[in-house]
């Protein structure tokens, strides 16, 4: 318990040194994966398992109940098959390598929700995939890759390097010396600057802050043998480092995400949905199949206007008395971001649909003949989003649905409010132990 409180204490000390960087609003509001899109859902919380065990657990928790398979009520899951296993030789320099780019960044999504199906509301499941394609010329990709590699390398050299050097120092420090000598030797090294010189000369302030804020708080300069505290010191310093680096890690992760988007503006997706009218797996009906290609673009970097154009084909399967239909959508979405931290965004979507639906059947000489009815349909939506804090955003959507769609009420008004959040683990003081030491715990 004492050991845990040591490094939780370290986390708290550095929580107060929270970095100024804030999450982009797009990192809070989830983008819609094909499985969610085909069901027309916008989940606020998407499960993203990144290994086989996590995927199995997520599927088991949602699909198995009382030793039987059940239709999940509200499942939102997206994963990248490539990343379900480790890749020991894939380094940070390889993100924009064209070999295997599509495979590495392809994703599969699964969703379930109660949605409109024909004239009723029915439990449906959607299954989708997303395949990004590397686009852009070799020169621009090379420049993006160079910038990204430079960012990561600079951080490695200026931050992670001194941290691993210091962890190496405490690991190899003589266990037969006392804690008094340990603190004295650190102070002495800052003056005499032995090898590794970079640690003691260029990062003297970082080392001093680390020692003052963590080690000197938790350990006394006394006659205790250093070896008796080595494991606790390693844990404490590691916890301190992790908290110190957190916001840098978030910022670099976002930079990598943006670089991946910049070089893969073209994306092919597909999804299929099934309806389960009895809420059981043994009776299902294919509901809808969709295939689409989308291209993202930046209209203006300065004013943060970007958008997506997409062409989508949707096949509606027959529902009750409603016959099959072919739909071709032309979609344009524009996003406007305001404020230096993109606190407000407005997103406008227009969908122009050409629809060809079977309306009735005539049988002549035993052969069925269908009559098709063609029409043009439209859908408009405007999303207004505001980031309230680093990890909470509100979104209000208003618009008009398609006039003829199996899954929505014709020409219905779109008007719904969403709250999105990103869990951000923080440490708070939770009380005191029997010895009067502060106890700390994680708080979401």
């Amino acid at each position: 318990m004492k050991k845990i409180s040591y490094f939780l204490a370290a986390l708290l000390f550095f929580n107060s040194k929270a970095m100024a960087q804030e999450r982009n609003i797009s990192s809070i509001i989830p983008s819609s994966a094909p499985a969610f899109t085909i069901l027309g859902t916008t989940p606020a919380d998407i499960s993203k398992p990144n290994n086989w065990n996590a995927l199995q657990t997520a599927l088991y928790q949602n699909l198995v109940s009382n030793n039987g398979f059940v239709i999940p009520k509200d499942l939102s899951l997206e994963f990248s098959p490539y990343w379900l296993k480790d890749h020991p030789t894939f380094t940070y320099k390889d993100y924009l390598n064209s070999n295997g780019f599509t495979l590495r960044n392809a994703s599969i999504s699964i969703a379930s929700a109660k949605t409109q199906y024909g004239n009723d509301s029915t439990q449906c499941m959607g299954f989708g995939f997303r395949i990004p394609v590397m686009t852009g010329n070799r020169k621009s990709i090379s420049k993006i890759n160079q910038d990204l590699t430079t960012t990561i390398n600079t951080h490695r050299s200026t931050v992670l390097k001194w941290q691993s050097d210091f962890q190496f120092f405490i690991t190899t420090y003589s266990g037969s010396r006392t804690m008094t000598q340990f603190f004295a030797d650190i102070a002495n090294n800052i003056i005499t600057q032995p090898a590794p010189v970079d640690l003691w000369r260029n990062h003297a302030a970082d080392v001093t802050r680390l020692v003052n804020d963590t080690l000197k708080v938790e350990f006394s300069a006394n006659g205790d043998l250093y070896s008796t505290h080595l494991s606790e010191i390693q844990d404490l310093v590691a916890a301190y480092i992790s908290n110190l680096n957190h916001d840098d890690a978030v910022a670099i992760t976002e930079e990598i995400s943006n670089a991946l988007k910049d070089v893969s503006r073209l994306e092919f997706s597909g999804a299929m949905s099934f309806a389960f009218p009895t809420d059981k797996f043994n009776f299902s009906k294919a509901a809808r199949l969709a295939l689409w290609g989308a291209y993202s673009f930046n209209m203006s970097v300065d004013t943060k206007i970007n958008g997506t154009v997409a062409l989508r084909y949707i096949y509606d399967f027959e529902v009750d008395t409603v016959k099959t239909a072919n739909n071709i959508d032309g979609i344009l979405r524009l996003n406007f971001a305001f404020g230096t931290r993109e606190r407000f965004t407005i997103s406008a979507l227009g969908d122009l649909r050409y629809r060809s639906a079977k309306v009735d059947k005539t049988v002549i000489n035993g052969n069925p003949f269908y009559r098709f009815e063609d029409d043009i349909d439209t859908k408009f939506v405007v999303d207004l989003s505001m980031k309230l804090s680093e990890s909470i955003a509100f979104s209000y959507s208003i618009g008009k649905n398609f006039g003829k769609d199996l899954y929505t009420v014709p020409n219905s008004l779109i008007s719904f409010f969403n709250i999105f959040y990103a869990l951000n683990t923080k440490v708070a003081k939770t009380g005191k132990d029997a010895g009067g030491h502060d106890l700390f715990g994680f708080k979401n």
Partner: protein
Amino acid sequence: MPSVFTVHHDVDFTPDNTNDYFLSVLVGNGQSGSTTFKNPAGDFFSPDVFNVPLGQGRELKGTSLPVVSVVMDINPQTDNMIVSYYITDTEVSEEELETLNPTDIVPFAAGANQTITFFSSLNFH
């Protein structure tokens, strides 16, 4: 979110007496990391440890050398980390390294954007 920020591991290796050996450490899964190592000659290496000379096998036998890697999760698609240790009897290029079987690997499932410290001990038998 795991409440541990350290991983401890032993890398066991039996060298041939007459061979010269080299150490390379690779941080995989697209994560960022710095590795610090001091070879038997007393030279420090960081943030990269690549083809670092260890000396002759007969001198290495019976010794243990610590290696420390600080790995930060930056991969948008996985929080998993993996550190690979290659002890080779010849210097290798980065391309060759990718085709070799590592002497040992240490995987770890970290939390989002965590930094984990890997403490490994190279034990020569």
